[in-house]
Each structure stands twice: as C-alpha cells, then as structure tokens.
C-alpha cells in the first residue's frame, strides 16, 4: 500500500550529508527517510531552519576561507 509522507527533500554533497547524518544520530529528530544514495535525504519540515543554521555555523568554522580585504 503506497504512502505519502510530508517532508523536505535535501539535496547536497556527500560531505554535508555525512554531517546531517551525524546530527541525526544525537536524537533522531531530523531525518524522515534516508534515501540511501549519498546526495539525498528527506527531513522534517520543522527542522529545516534549525538545520541550515547549524550547518552554516559548522561550515563557517571548518571550511578555510581565503583572506580577502574589503579595500581595493
């Protein structure tokens, strides 16, 4: 019997997916369905903003940024 589940489809790189999977392991409160390839998963609609914020913070910390000055 087919079912329809509400959620948000997330499309990302494998590295980001790994981070999301790690978050989910803490309390299992993000993922609705892990879609098994390394780029897609479905998460709860309510968690989207939270996830984006958390990812943004984490990536800002971990990803090296080239130095850039605002002057000419």
């Amino acid at each position: 019997m087919p079912r329809a589940v509400r959620g948000v489809l997330i499309e990302c790189d494998p590295s980001v997916k790994a981070i999301i999977l790690k978050y989910d392991e803490e309390r299992h409160d993000y993922i609705v369905e892990d879609l098994d390839d390394d780029r897609h998963l479905v998460i709860k609609e309510s968690q989207l903003q939270n996830l984006k914020l958390r990812l943004g913070r984490e990536l800002d910390e971990k990803v090296m940024q080239p130095e850039e000055s605002e002057s000419e």
């Binding site: 019997m1 087919p2 079912r3 329809a4 589940v5 509400r6 959620g7 948000v8 489809l9 997330i10 499309e11 990302c12 790189d13 980001v16 609705v32 369905e33 879609l35 098994d36 390839d37 897609h40 479905v42 609609e45 989207l48 996830l51 984006k52 990812l55 943004g56 990536l59 850039e68 605002e70 000419e72």
Partner: protein, 477 residues
C-alpha cells in the same frame, strides 16, 4: 522576472473552488487570469475550446500537441485544472473529454465580444476634465507614493534617510501585517522578508502588497473575492483616463481609497466623482517587466526626472566595481545592502561588490538572483548598448546578458558557498509493492511536472504537490 507571476498564482491556487466560481463571474477577472496566469500553450487550449459547443475528447486535444512537448502539454493541463478553468467530462458516447468550465467560459466570451449589462471594465467618466491629470503627473504621483512606501521600509534601517510622513496608517499596518517591517521599541525595523521585497521589481512588489491587502481584507470586514475582482478590474483600465465612481460598491470605494495611498490609483480627493488608474494598476496583468520600466525607471532614475523607458543608472565593471549615478537616498541604501560603498559624490556613488558584502546581504535574506535582477533592471543604457553589440557579434545561442558574466557567476557562487543544501518541500511516496505499481504514478508525476527525485531501486519518488498524484493512485484502484 520568473518569480513575478508565481506569488499571485500561488495565492489564487490556494483558494477553494467556490471562490473561483464567484471570481469568474466578472469578465475582467476571467480576462486577467487568462492573460496573466496561463502559459502559452494553456492559452491556446482555452481559446481553441472556448467556442466549441461540445466537450472535446481528451485524445483529440492530446494529439494536437507534438510528442516532444508532452511535458508542456501536461503542465498546461495541470495549471488549467488547478485554476478550475478546464474540467474533465465525458462526451455523449462516454469518452473522456475536456471542456472550459462555465462561469469562466461565459465571462471570457463576454470579455471578447462585449456585454450590455456589466460594469466589469469600468465606466469612463463622461465629464471631460481632460488635461487636469496627465499621464506624466499620474506617473509622478505613483512614483512618489511607491517610493514613499519603500522609503518608509528601508529608511528605517539606520541609514539616515528623511522620509515623507504622508503614509497613511493603513499602509503601515499592512506592511506590518505582512511581516515586511516590525515595530521594535516604537521604531520601525525592516525584516528579512522586507529586504527581499525592496529588491524585487515593481510589478512583483505591487502584487505582493495587493495580496497582503486581499488577505487582510477579511479581517476588516470586506469580502476578499470582491476586493480581488476589483483589483482585476483596475488592471483592465486604461492609463490616462478617468473613471466613474458612482457604479462602485461601498467596499470597492473603500479599497479605492486604500489603494490610492500606495499610488495604485489616483483621485484628486476622496470625495471626487472620478478616479484615475496609474501605471502601477494598468500593468498589473502584463507579463512583461519591461513594460513597467517607465515606472521603475522613474522610481530609480536620478530624482525621477527622466521618463525614458529602460533608463538605468548602474555600471558594473568586470573587476566588481560599481558606479551608480543616483542621488536618491532610497536607491543608495538599496545598493548599500549588497555593496561596500566607497565614495559618494553629488550624483554618483561608487563601491565594490565583495564576498563580504554579498554574504552580508545573503544573511539578511536577500538572494543572489534578487541582486542580479536588481542590477540588470537598473543597468545603465551604456551597459546595455555595450553588451548587446558584443553579444550579436559572437555567440548567438546565449541570450545577451547586460551584466558582465563573471560578476553574475561570482555573485551566485558566493551565495552557493553559504548554501550547501538545496531544500524542496513536498511529499515522499513510498511503500510501493511492485515495480509496476510504482512506475505509473511516477511517470504521471513527471508528466505533470511535480517530480523532483525518484529511485527505481527503492521504489520511492518525491513530488512538490501530492493532490493530483494521490488522485491518480485512487483512480487506478
């Protein structure tokens, strides 16, 4: 502007069928929806079916479209269905067939041929007070009011702009209700939505405001259908002509007064017997953002002086430097949202687009596309000329871009750097028993253009909207 039609469309689509029934009673509404909301192919379908007495068998309509264009056909049919314009019926010998639904068909026919009774397209004022209000002064009025609204929103973000205090309370309440601004400590602060709003082109902004207005209409005791039809009526009026007010209902009069505050209509005084639609109203149902150029041009142009179509003031070089020939505080503060400003002269500001400045903007909720479309809309004629001459001489396949491609790409890349995930809200269909059971709805979802992702192996697929797919599944049982 691709985003332009989507908002009114989304709003309309969310309305129940009975509302459509009431809306389509008015020929002006039927015409406006036909013109504004439908893709080309859907328009062809409607027109082809409009004067047919009997429903057309579905097969006949379907073979009319080339087999390469199945996707376009199905998305056209799907939109027509969602807007309750086309309905499925059966012909006398029980063949699946399509027909244009009735209040819509009758109203559209009436719009095309004319009707005696209705005042659906407004009644021209007979008292000829020609010359009292020219098109130029209507544009000026619309520009002043609309810039006032934007200035009220942006000017409060601490950039030190003097603003006109002639905004009515209703306008301010509406902006608040739409979460475009917030009142904190009795000071007005622009929200993320507000930032996104001010960078959109004027046509989209007007629709955004109008839909907020319609949504709030119920709260102040007006029928939203009546307000909506009145807005469509306004959109079918002619610029520079005055219209009688005595045929309007009291609610419509009330709406008229409110819209005058935004500069969408003009009346010399609330007691006046006539009103004039401004360009903001008459271009509501045009697809072409280029048409609103006279307004956006004057809105943006230095001091609103020039009324030339397509007049812009921004020059961007391939080294990300930006020169804006404007002295309008509104425009300067808009540019400052995503640029690091460097020098300011009486008629010119210069600055540079940097990674930081773009990220700052993106954190405020502005998207790269909004920045790019803002820059493209307001590009200086010199840039247009330069780029057009260049693009006709070399590659013909790529549509000519006004902005330097490297800058456009880089702005998008800076956004994507932040944006590592692409999120699409929707519905996951799963637990199909067999591959056969999975395949049919999956293919159907793809045809109507809602399929985002599928996996044949796991027998799952993801769609943006589930209603039609669910109906499809039920029908197959």
């Amino acid at each position: 502007m691709a985003a332009a039609p989507s908002r009114p469309f989304d709003y309309l689509e969310s309305l129940p069928g009975t509302v459509f029934f009431k809306l389509y009673q008015q020929p002006s509404t039927a015409l406006a929806i036909f013109r504004r909301m439908l893709p080309d192919l859907a328009k062809c379908f409607v027109m082809a079916l409009l004067y047919l007495k009997d429903p057309i068998p579905a097969v006949d309509l379907e073979i009319w479209v080339k087999s390469e264009s199945l996707k376009e056909r199905d998305s056209a049919l799907s939109i027509l269905g969602r807007l309750h314009i086309l309905s499925n019926t059966t012909t006398a010998d029980n063949v699946r067939a399509y027909m244009v639904t009735n209040p819509f068909a009758a109203s559209l026919r009436q719009a095309l041929t004319g009707a005696e009774q209705t005042q659906s397209f407004g009644v021209l004022s007979r008292t000829s007070d020609e010359g009292s209000t020219s098109i130029g002064s209507l544009d000026e009025y619309a520009r002043r009011q609309w810039e006032g609204v934007l200035g009220y929103m942006v000017g409060t973000s601490g950039l030190g702009i003097q603003r006109d205090a002639n905004l009515s309370k209703g306008v301010k309440q509406l902006l608040q209700a739409g979460h475009l601004v917030e009142i904190r400590d009795r000071r007005v602060e622009i929200t993320q939505d507000g930032f996104a709003f001010v960078l959109q082109d004027v046509g989209t902004q007007v629709w955004h405001i109008l839909i907020l207005y319609v949504e709030s209409a119920e709260a102040i005791g007006m029928d939203s259908v009546e307000v909506l039809s009145f807005i469509f009526l306004l959109s079918s009026l002619e610029l520079g002509k005055s219209y009688e007010k005595r045929h309007l209902t009291s609610n419509q009069l009330r709406t008229l007064t409110d819209l005058a505050d935004f500069g969408i209509v003009y009346q010399s005084s609330p007691e006046a017997g006539q009103f004039y639609p401004t360009r903001l109203a008459t271009t509501l149902t045009s697809d072409s953002s280029a048409l609103s150029n006279p307004i956006s041009g004057t809105l943006s142009g230095p001091g609103g002086g020039s009324n030339q179509p397509g007049s812009g003031f921004i020059i961007i070089e391939t080294n990300y430097r930006l020169y804006a020939y404007t002295s309008s505080p509104l425009q300067i503060s808009l540019i400052a949202l995503f640029t690091t400003l460097k020098y300011r002269f009486p008629n010119l500001v210069t600055g540079k687009i940097t990674r930081q400045s773009i990220r700052r903007a993106i954190e405020m909720g502005i998207t790269a596309d909004q920045i790019i479309s803002y820059l493209a809309t307001h590009a200086h004629p010199q840039m247009r000329k330069h780029n057009v001459s260049r693009s006709t001489s070399n590659q013909t396949g790529i549509p000519p871009s006004v902005l330097p491609p490297t800058v456009v790409d880089q702005i998008r890349l800076w956004q994507l750097e932040r944006d590592r995930v692409k999120a699409t809200a929707g519905f996951l269909f799963k637990d199909f028993v067999s591959l056969a059971e999975y395949e049919a709805p999956c293919r159907y979802a793809e045809e109507i253009g809602v399929l985002i992702w599928k996996s044949d192996r796991k027998r799952m697929f993801f769609v943006t909207r589930h209603e039609q797919v669910a109906a499809f599944l039920r029908n197959r049982k």
